[in-house]
């Protein structure tokens, strides 16, 4: 008996060590050190608003996702480079021109790096820019309407990756090519890349009133891969810095052949000098073909224009404007701290972070402290420009953002962590694991002189076990940190769409108060708009039937149409007559080979329907608009080809507008 008790006693003692109220602590290892009040810090009570907007790139979805911070709630997915049937983007006649390119209509894109416009080095909430990597394009999105207002294609470019970052007064947004290509494109052997391909760095001037972009000049750089970029600011305003890799100019098996050099370069571009050169007639206009698509917010319609030439600047023609800064090794992110003094190369294959000094760079240029040149562009001696090196902070550094207290935060892809370090002291302060394989990170205002440094969002490339599994494909993952203290504090995981490459954040009060609520009918200049129900009608032009239709809670006018024939091309030009916030109506037509339309108050949109079968076919409102939403429907009678059914259109038995009194 005694032995039994003895063994139970021993077991019990052992168990106390093993059990210890599991859930509280046992999972700590893979949750990070979540402190007790993390939930409180991200909880936004029902009806309350977040303090920040975060615009996360939609990656291979081609779109831009809008989240609230700190809650991580998804508010809206803004269609940019891909069709979106939910909103009719790229399906209705008005938005199709937005997706035109020199290669024709392209329904998809790979969106990458959102960046918010700035005034005096501070994010101002006017526009957000985002680049498309695959078919090089830059888009501008209005932060009043949260809609894409402009897309411009970038010629002589491929893999538009070191884009779309803005200068501190939004003078320019840049677009740099990741893949060197023949410039201009031509039929030539691939293995003759070296010395024959080029890398275009494009500077797009932004009109401060309208936001309209145009390519002011393209710099025809050597055929390296230009990976990422950031503008100088403060003291280095007027310069732009681009990281490069494949300075080996390999054309195959780049994972080996582009990793030979111990150092690649950061290209430092004095854009003010080039701007001056161009203003004095410098550069050469060369033929180029690229689409420039703009949205008119009164006509609710986009126009696509094919541009025919671009101004090209050869580096050799502007001496003193471009330098190479040796940087270890195949650097990915190229980041500039808020003071503009430190330029950081995130050498993804190196064990060290390279920190260059703008002050030293200027002195090196004055002293001509060069170490030869590459295709005529001076290479500044490493020691002459380098401020210092942060040794062994982690494995695989990709991107760095900054706070206002002199600290940098760098993501390490291979070792899956975010490391906080002091730029001046080159000392690591804290590190925190992320789950898993972090790519970009974002601090609101991170690309500016004035970061809003309470939160940090880490965007991870691999999600694995962080959420309930959904088959082989799982959501992408972001993680929110509180960086207001000495230590990084992990607050929240939240799923994202596509694979987010970078994000841009801003305080909500810079955007929310000016967010548009309705489109005023008085301002609607759409050629097929109806301003009131009396203007609704149906007009036949040959085999085209144009329906000028209106919608209001909860009917269409007209809602009975006869005289349409098989073989006709029927245009639904539909105006939402509502003038109240958050009362969109939708419309869908059975058998239409396109999407629905979701039409905001005061706006006009058009879809085409080509009826193929005789019969009486209904259409209906797709967005629950009122208690009588289910009643919001209509019919179109389709007769055989050549039938004599007269064209009629009515609402409640009358021709609309004949019985207004």
């Amino acid at each position: 008996m005694k032995t039994i008790f003895k063994s139970i006693f021993l077991f019990a003692i052992g168990a106390t060590f093993l059990v210890s109220c599991g859930p509280d602590t046992s999972k700590k290892s893979n949750k990070g050190a979540i402190s007790g009040n993390a939930a409180e810090k991200v909880y936004i009570a029902p009806g309350e608003h977040d303090s920040h907007y975060a615009f996360l790139s939609g990656g291979f979805s081609g779109q831009l996702a809008v989240y609230g911070l700190p809650s991580g709630r998804l508010f809206r997915v803004i269609p940019v480079f891909s069709q979106d049937p939910e909103k009719g983007y790229g399906y209705n006649e008005e938005t199709k021109p937005m997706l035109m390119t020199s290669h024709g209509f392209i329904p998809w894109g790979d969106s990458h790096h959102p960046d918010i416009s700035q005034t005096n080095g501070t994010v101002d909430g006017r526009w957000v820019f985002i680049n498309e990597n695959n078919t090089p394009r830059i888009a501008r999105i209005s932060l009043e309407t949260f809609e894409t207002e402009e897309i411009i294609e970038i010629p002589n470019s491929a893999g538009n990756h070191s884009s779309s970052f803005v200068t501190e007064n939004s003078e320019y947004v840049v677009a740099g090519t990741r893949f060197a290509v023949p410039f201009p494109q031509r039929d030539m052997p691939i293995n003759e890349l070296k010395g024959n391909f080029s890398g275009a760095l494009s500077f797009l001037k932004i009109d401060q009133e309208t936001g309209h972009m145009n390519i002011a000049f393209q710099i025809k750089m050597p055929g390296f891969n230009y990976d990422l970029s950031h503008p100088g600011r403060g003291k280095s305003h007027g310069w732009f810095f681009f990281s490069t890799y494949n300075t080996e100019e390999a054309n195959s098996l780049l994972e080996v052949n582009a990793s030979q050099n111990d150092k690649d370069f950061i290209a430092a571009i004095n854009w003010k000098k080039i701007e001056e050169y161009v203003a004095n007639g410098g550069g050469k206009k060369v033929p180029a073909k690229y689409a420039h698509n703009t949205w008119d917010d009164n006509a609710h319609t986009a126009t696509s224009v094919m541009e025919k030439e671009v101004l090209v600047v050869e580096p050799k023609d502007v001496p003193g404007a471009i330098y190479f800064l040796p940087t270890a090794k195949s650097p990915h992110g190229c980041d500039v701290d808020p003071t503009g003094e430190y330029i950081i190369g995130n050498g993804k294959l190196a064990a060290a972070m390279t920190v260059h000094s703008f002050t030293k760079m200027q002195k090196a240029i004055a002293d001509k402290a060069f170490d030869g040149d590459a295709y005529g562009i001076p290479i500044i001696k490493f020691e002459a420009v380098n401020y210092g090196v942060l040794n062994q902070p982690g494995l695989g550094p990709l991107h760095t953002e900054f706070d206002t207290r002199g600290n940098a935060y760098t993501t390490f892809f291979i070792s899956s962590e975010v490391v906080k370090w002091n730029v001046k002291d080159l000392k690591v302060i804290d590190r925190h694991p992320v789950y898993y394989s972090v790519g970009h990170l974002m601090i609101p205002g991170g690309n500016s002189r004035t970061p809003d440094d309470k939160y940090l969002v880490a965007m991870n490339k691999i999600t694995k076990d962080r959420y309930l599994p959904t088959g082989p494909e799982v959501c992408q993952s972001a993680q929110l940190f509180d960086i207001s203290g000495e230590k990084l504090e992990l607050l929240l995981d939240f799923p994202t769409i596509g694979e987010p490459h970078y994000a841009a954040g801003i305080a909500a009060d810079k955007i929310a108060p000016k967010s548009k609520k309705i489109y005023r009918l008085e301002d609607n200049t759409h050629p097929y708009a109806v301003k009131h129900e009396g203007e609704t009608k149906v007009v036949r032009k040959g085999n085209e039937v144009h329906i000028y239709m209106s919608m209001i809670r909860s009917h269409f006018s007209p809602d009975n149409i006869e005289g349409v024939r098989v073989g006709d091309k029927v245009f639904f030009h539909v105006t939402n007559l509502e003038q109240d916030y958050d009362v969109p109506h939708g419309i869908s037509m059975i058998g239409a080979n396109t999407s629905e339309m979701l039409i905001m108050p005061g706006r006009t949109s058009t879809i085409i329907w080509e009826p193929k079968q005789v019969g009486v076919w209904p259409f209906y409102c797709t967005d629950f608009c009122s208690a009588l939403h289910q009643e919001m429907q209509g019919y179109i009678r389709v007769s055989a080809k050549g039938a004599k059914t007269p064209l009629t259109y009515t609402l409640d038995g009358d021709i609309p507008g004949t019985d207004e009194e």
């Binding site: 009131h532 006018s557 007559l577 109240d580």
Partner: protein, 155 residues
Amino acid sequence: MKLKFLTILVLLVIMSSCGDKAKQEVAKEPQKQEVAKTKELEKIDPMKDKGVGPIKSITLGEIDNALAEKGKGIFKAKCTACHKINKRFVGPALKGVTKKQTPEWIMNMILNPEVMVVENAKARELLMEFSAPMANQNLTEDEARAVLEYFRTKN
């Protein structure tokens, strides 16, 4: 015996070590709450009922024809999708409306329909009759005043 006692003691410690927390987690009895009822609304003489909204008092003079003409245009653009003058449509026919309701009530119905259907007996009665809620077309007070003037010409 001593060991037996000690064993039981240790077991008790293990068993109860999470107890306090468990106790804390016991949910509080839900408080019995009275389900809020839809407010009963008092019916008022329509010609004294000013409704609920920004318009507290309107003094009418002679009909201002220019203003009425302006109101006609606004009415056509913003209201005719649901209202006719002589015919019941989505909403009621508006002939003689200024004889049935006060000018303040009419303008508040135009300017503040969401609140009117909840807080004003007559507005709610109309919602029940017509089912379609009156849409807020975001007219300004001046525009609503012009529409009112137009209605005065339609008696």
